[in-house]
């Protein structure tokens, strides 16, 4: 036997062993058990009269059509969601939670009773109280307090529903953002948008069901996990689109390769994958095939949808867009275009709201006001534009941060900051919602005289999530995914639908 023959023989033997190893005792038992189990279950289900309808209970993951539209548990009031997350946490005390009593205390030392047993991100020792750094006025029929920093938004106060006693238990950005968006302060849970696309699929098969847009020059602190799919199949994670340059990276045809060749190569890859699937039956392979197909469709549909240039000039003016640049206003306009095309969940993150007072951009009386001005016009335009197109009927818009800001002026490490600023505050903050079957011109929850603690209508991120799912037609307690041997839900073991704010 020559050296070469010996080598070939060895290779052959190894290949056989590998195949044998892949078909293990466990596979054998599993196949048998599944086979018998399926037989038994089949006849059992048939006797229950379930065979034909098939789709009883919660959503079932169909790897071949993971994004196929699915029905909600009960009739929905909202079909789409736009979540405007102001990353860094805007100050409720300069926008919506008007506290004249705090003005009287301005500059005085914070009483010990408010500090005992508390832990702040940066405040040390005894800070001074800081009165509202804005003029407030009651707006619209509803009389909601909105400050001068959002003059446009103030004109549509009667369209909004404020949750003024939101609380959280995370005082750092990343965990707090994760808590709001995924229901857990730690990494690894699917985000709200993933849950929603998992539950409802998408009605436009050419576009992703869950799109994420960011602005403000920086990513949110929690990183891409806040739109991750966690333990849900990866096809449900948010697709981040850029508002400048190519909306989705690496989706353009490479130079010298036209669309037909691209199509042919995707077909070839899919064919190989299909053979692989016949051999192994792994559902993730089907998932991969459908993702390739979707990417191919997205090559056309995404650039088309993401191109705001075909909007008429008056719409650009209404939103205050800056075509060609990466900015929040462009993203807001894109959000409307996306929901109009049937995208289920659009998440916008705008960074720069962390008004500590450590520099001018993060000062409550400088940078914060500029941030407000950057979003005021476009957000107002969004609500009005959705409204005039009849989309606000079944589109839920949410605006807010991950926590609030303290009624005290921040004294980082016991020293006075160069500018006026407020530290992170977990006990009270404001968010607002509009459309999607939520009451208009309504305010829920109240805080005490200085906006430190809620005194009524306290709500948590879990309550918010439960309410959003409820509007989309899901019972947050029954909407689960089996993982690691137990059912998981977005709201963990918490959350109550805030029924008072539902129409």
């Amino acid at each position: 036997m020559t050296q070469k023959e010996l080598h070939n023989q060895r290779l052959l033997k190894e290949a056989q062993q590998t195949v044998a190893r892949m078909y293990t005792r466990r596979h054998f038992l599993q196949d048998c058990a599944m086979g018998f189990g399926a037989l038994a279950l089949g006849s059992f289900l048939q006797s229950c009269g379930m065979g034909s309808s098939g789709a009883a209970g919660g959503p079932v993951f169909d790897p071949a059509h993971p994004l196929a539209p699915r029905m909600p548990m009960f009739p929905a009031r909202a079909k789409r969601v736009i979540y405007l997350h102001m990353a860094g946490a805007p100050s409720q005390l300069e926008l919506f939670d008007y506290k004249p009593a705090l003005q009287q205390l301005d500059g005085q030392n914070c009483p010990q009773s408010l500090l005992e047993g508390k832990r702040f991100a940066f405040i040390r020792g005894v800070p001074k109280m800081l009165g509202p750094q804005a003029h407030f006025q009651q707006r619209g029929q509803s009389g909601a307090w909105i400050s001068e920093h959002m003059p446009h938004l103030a004109t549509i106060a009667d369209e909004l529903c404020f949750l003024k006693a939101m609380t959280t238990d995370q005082f750092n950005h990343a965990p707090a953002q994760l808590l709001v968006q995924t229901g857990s302060p730690r990494l690894g849970r699917p985000s709200m948008g993933s849950w929603v696309t998992y539950g409802l699929g998408t009605e436009n098969e050419d576009l992703p069901g869950f799109v994420v847009l960011t602005s403000g020059g920086k990513f949110p602190d929690a990183g891409k996990s806040i739109w991750g799919s966690g333990f849900l199949p990866s096809v449900y994670q948010g697709v981040q689109c850029r508002s400048e340059g190519d909306p989705v990276l690496f989706i353009e045809d490479p130079q010298g390769m036209d669309r037909d060749i691209r199509k042919a190569s995707i077909d070839a890859i899919n064919k190989v994958n299909e053979e692989e699937h016949t051999a192994y039956g792994d559902p993730e392979i089907l998932s991969r095939i459908s993702q390739y197909e979707m990417a191919y469709k997205m090559q056309v549909s995404v650039p088309e949808t993401m191109n705001i240039n075909d909007e008429p000039p008056y719409i650009h003016e209404m939103y205050g867009t800056q075509p060609g640049k990466a900015c929040f206003a462009n993203n807001v306009l894109l959000a409307r275009r996306l929901v109009e095309k049937g995208v289920r969940f659009v998440q916008l993150f705008d960074w720069g709201w962390d008004s500590h007072g450590t520099d001018a951009n993060l000062a409550i009386d400088v940078g914060f006001i500029n941030k407000c001005r950057q979003v005021d016009r476009s957000v107002t335009a969004l609500i009005l534009d959705l409204k005039q197109r009849g989309l606000l009927e079944d589109t839920l818009v949410i605006w807010g941060g991950e926590f609030g800001r303290t009624p005290m002026m921040e004294n980082r490490d016991g020293k006075q900051n160069p500018f006026k600023g407020r530290d992170h505050h977990v006990d009270a903050f404001t968010i607002w919602m509009a459309g999607g079957g939520i009451k208009k011109g309504f305010s829920y929850g109240e805080t005490d005289e200085i906006g430190y603690y809620p005194i009524s209508g306290k709500t948590t991120p879990f309550d918010l999530q439960a309410t959003i799912l409820n509007q989309l037609g899901f019972d947050h307690e029954k909407f689960t995914y089996q993982f690691q041997g137990r059912p998981f839900r977005l709201t963990d073991v918490y959350g109550k639908v805030i029924e008072d704010i539902i129409v």
């Binding site: 699915r70 009960f74 003059p151 001018a360 197109r389 918490y494």
Partner: protein
């Protein structure tokens, strides 16, 4: 939590221990029965020792049971029956045991003792079960159809004339509280099934402060998060609905009177929906007036038509699980050729989105037959006045979206709008301003949205605040 003493700990072993005498004595009885035959004669030797083990475990069970009886709030009569039966059982087992040691387990008396023991075992065990799981635990399974029915307050024909306590408060308390705080059990020493007992309160004090629902323990406990150990009714038990809690709070706030009628008490806005719901005998749940789907059920839609639409790329979805009502979204698929497929589904379709599909007035001939339609989106289609007038036939219509169509004011004025209609979207249509007043009269009760909102240019849109130079 109060500290658990060692006696409490031993007492709490009772529910586990009792299974020992039941099992062991049953085995002894089976052995006794079998050993009577020639074939199983050899089993006789085992009987005395098994019986002895049974007697010993019975004695321990009795001791722990007595300790538990002293420290808990079980129904007195049930408990004493359980106790006397258990004692009788233990003595009888002892007698049989003694006989078996002297080899007399198989005479006439031994057999009678065995039969008696079996009867006592059954009775005692059942009584014990009734104590832990409730008296209707076993029998409940037999008439389960009644038991499983949702906890509703019986309908009240004339709510205003009803006595608040008898007709509203009592049924609510019965649903949520009686099983532990009623005639059979008084957990925490609290009984809630008559006025005197309610006023007396429980071990930890009074539960109801007339006029102050917020300070009343009864309400406070219900409002705690369900995960809280002190939340009532406890986790896993049937919870009270929001409406039911609102009714209870209202009753307490208004003085917690036992004789007054509904009409005698002030009725703030908050409690009115719940009160109105009582007329229908609802569960006190606040009914959403603007329910998205019709109340009456409908047969499943024609499968061929559904498959035909789906095949063409139209999204046809039931509006909810267990509902045959459909939502149809053409998602931009050219609709004129497909619209005929809606005809067989005319009773099922309640939401129809044909936006951007290029359908025209002729398609409205089919749409108008879909009498259940509540939501119709015809934005950016070729629909004109002729089509819109036909839509007047849709009596259930709630929302009509005509954005970007050629519809005019004249057309809308000749439409007979449905009474439920609450929003018509008319952005980018040819409805002129002069028709507005007339339209508002015709479409009263509905919001007519002409769109075209503009935002004024403000200095703040572009001005940037800069830090003051110090």
């Amino acid at each position: 939590m109060y500290p658990l003493t060692i006696t409490d700990f031993i007492a709490h072993l009772h529910p586990a221990l009792v299974h020992l005498p039941i099992g062991i004595l049953l085995i002894a009885l089976i052995l006794q029965l079998l050993a009577g035959r020639e074939k199983f004669h050899s089993l006789r030797a085992a009987i005395p020792i098994v019986l002895l083990a049974g007697v010993l475990s019975a004695v321990f069970s009795c001791i722990t049971g007595f300790l538990l009886f002293r420290s808990s709030d079980y129904d007195k009569t049930l408990v004493s029956w359980h106790m006397w039966m258990a004692l009788a059982l233990t003595f009888m087992a002892f007698a049989l045991c003694a006989r078996s040691f002297s080899g007399r387990a198989f005479d006439r008396t031994g057999k009678w003792l065995g039969a008696g023991l079996l009867v006592l075992l059954t009775i005692t065990g059942h009584l014990g079960g009734s104590l832990t799981h409730g008296e209707d635990y076993l029998s409940g399974a037999l008439h389960s159809s009644e038991e499983a029915a949702p906890a509703v307050i019986p309908p009240i024909a004339n709510v205003q004339e009803a006595v608040v306590y008898d007709s509203i408060v009592k049924p609510v308390l019965a649903v949520g509280c009686y099983s532990c705080h009623g005639p059979n059990k008084q957990k925490g020493g609290l009984r809630l099934d008559n006025p005197a007992a309610i006023a007396k309160g429980g071990k930890d004090g009074i539960v109801l402060i007339a006029g102050k629902a917020d300070s009343s323990e009864l309400i406070k406990r219900m409002l705690l998060p369900e995960s809280d150990d002190h939340h009532m009714p406890p986790k896993g038990h049937r919870q009270l609905s929001r409406g039911q809690m609102e009714l209870l709070s209202w009753w307490i706030d208004q003085g917690g009177d036992y004789t007054k009628k509904v009409k005698d008490l002030p009725q703030p806005e908050k409690v009115r929906p719940a009160l109105a719901g009582l007329q229908k005998g609802s569960s006190g749940e606040v009914v959403n007036m603007e329910a998205v789907i019709p109340e009456e059920a409908v047969d499943p839609g024609d499968e061929k038509a559904i498959a035909g639409l789906r095949g063409a790329g139209v999204v046809v979805m039931p509006v909810a699980q267990n509902s045959n009502y459909l939502s149809v979204n053409f998602s931009g698929v050219p609709g004129a050729a497909l619209v005929g497929l809606l005809q067989p589904l005319r009773k099922q379709v309640i939401q129809l989105d044909m936006s951007g599909t290029g359908v025209g007035d002729s398609s409205m001939e089919v749409v108008r037959q879909c009498a259940a339609l509540r939501y119709v989106n015809l934005s950016n289609t070729g629909v004109t006045d002729r089509g819109v007038v036909m839509l007047g036939a849709l009596q259930e219509l709630r929302v009509l979206n005509l954005v970007g169509t050629q519809v005019t004011g004249e057309g809308l004025l000749s439409m007979r709008p449905a009474g439920h209609l609450h929003a018509v979207y008319l952005y980018h249509t040819r409805v002129e301003g002069k028709y507005w007043e007339k339209l508002k009269v015709l479409f009263k009760g509905a919001v007519l949205d002409s769109g075209g909102y503009l935002l004024p240019k403000l200095v703040t849109d572009t001005a940037v605040v800069r830090p003051k130079v110090k």
